[in-house]
Amino acid sequence: MIAQLEECLAATPYSLEPEARQRLMLEGLNALTAKHYERCLPYRRIIDGYWRGKTEFEEIGGAPYLPVSIFKTQIMQSVPDTEVRLTLTSSGTTGQAVSRIPLDAETSSIQQRALASSLRHVLGPDRLPMLVIDTDEVFKDPKMMSARGAGVLGLMRYGRTHSFALDAPLEPDIKGIRQFLDQLEGRPFFMFGFTFLVWTGFYEKLRKEGLDLSAGILIHSGGWKRMADRAVSNPVFRTALGQAFGLTRIHNFYGMVEQIGSIFLEGPDGLLYPPNFADVIVRDPRTLEPVPDGSTGLVQLLSLLPHSYPGHSILTEDLGVIERISDGADGWAGKGLRIEGRLPRSELRGCSDVIAMAA
């Protein structure tokens, strides 16, 4: 593991203020760029052909970035095949290419350690009883074993004595939920679910049940696109859950398989904060130059976790805004990010017509 990452992980999670973070991130990114340059041939070709072979930069904005699509089209790997312990794949609708992320033992353990440190920041040092806002079928049934199942399983290791709030057809198991809460007698507990399921499977069906979740900590993820279709924004989501269940400790998170373990967690102000070993740059979608804070642009994600593949600096196709730079007085330091959705898709039509043959 590179020394700078050690240092980031040693600090209190989400505590590194911008200046200290800048230094560690820059040194760490330079170290990773040089490492991957040496060990990953496709990466070296890109650095040589697009970035003039340079692997050292004076500021993090100068660091080379890969388009997120490259993890779908190429095998980007910086370790020998024999050392790959696990290849992660992204969710994708049928027919679409998926990202393939090779993890060796080192990166996989770094990734788990980093994620644990981030989650402890909101969950505390002890593993808490956990209510999963999903059905246990999601990972029991291999046919359903998907990114959702993997996500649920991944988060379950950070809780104990798990209960599942939904049954197989995704209806709430109100009896089971009450039983779970009664046993706790007001002690803190952990909830995890995908944003859309938390809303449709849990909130909408249980909001009149008078459940008291005020001792709960909810972590949720999965994106806002389907929520936006229902005109539910993050503030609406937070207010609604607060009013219905007394639930106030709500943390959305943002991350992607290409930087697994590196999660931006939602602070009390509703913004997403990078962990100590990560950062974000927002770039103009047309010029790819960094935009001033407060302006919308393409999100570039930086993370010191990827050691077995060159995923430490990725230009995503998500749009976002840096709303605030925090010194960490409230426990959340760094750039406060708001995600605004994806860059609208647009594909040019070729001289080949795609024709739907109607019956």
Partner: protein
Amino acid sequence: MSLAEATDEALVERVKRMAGMAREPFLPAAIDLLSGMSRAILADSETKLVPQYVALAYWMRGAAVKKLAKAFLNTIPDGEILAPRGLALHLPPTNVDTIFVYSWALSALAGNANVVRLPATLSPQAQSLLRVVSKTLADEQQAERNLFGTYDHGGETEREICRNVDLRIIWGGDAKVEKVSQIPIRPDGLTIGFPDRQSLTLISAAAYCSADDEARDDLAARLFNDAYWFDQMGCSSPRLIVWLGDNPECRDDLYNRLEAVIQQKSYIADPAVGMAKFGLANDFLAEGVAASARRYSNELQVAEVSQPKVALQRTTGGGFFGDAQILSLDEVRNFVSRKVQTITHFGFSHEELISLARSIAGVGGYRIVPVGEALQFESTWDGVPLLSHMTRRIVVR
């Protein structure tokens, strides 16, 4: 003219009636119709502003059409009398919104009655062209013999229409040609398919380097027209630029000038297209297809490729160029295939081009024309002399 009949039944009835409406080729009325349409396009406040439509109008003007007719008639031996094929069905591509008129115009000149199947949705720009076309047809009282409309692919309506068709012209790629061709037309009918094609530009580095600023700017402007008019997605749009001879400075000089033209013409590529181009440049580098790549802007990205054949096969459109270097014209045949349509050129002698044509003849290539004329429609397309195929002959002895 009717955009479409109210029902599929009415459409089929109409097509059946049209089957007997062909006339002698090259009648003065047909020539007048095209020259009238040419004037109308240049007079219309919307269409006259679209460069592609101005080019179309120029191609259709009376003198040009007469010249085309005369040149063709000169190839007909004595004792062979030209006759129309009968009823033609045109299936234009969805992306190049002038082909529907070019294809129709040649066929109308050949005396055929015409059904032009339009895509279900037309760009506002194409709608303005269609409006001028329809008005001219009505004014010249030719609407009965020329139907522009739409119907679903793959249904009974298409089968019924095709049963009456003598000539079917399919534009729009391999899959479309293959699918549409499965539906029978008249037993003595003829189908011509225009499948997927790729195009490239060939520049003599020596000629470019000795050209003055004016000539270089002019070349950049013509390259812009060839590549950007249809977002670089036409079969004839160049996607690969091949330099004969080595001169990296000249190459960069041309792309800087092209970038200036892009800005001057205010061509804008969608950021998602820009990202697709950035992705492809990274793929080419990662795979070793390209040794270097440069993003001049969101609208222009260039990858210096060592495998021109691969670069020809993959594109995003919207301003992505593979850039390759050769040391002898003989190398062109190494990356030309049946898929390659147009080679635009700069800085070569006629003799060199003739010898290039001969050297690639066995492998592919259909047009070798100056830079700036890639999209210029001509009556021999993809190697098919269209007027010959759009007519039949009566032998008289």
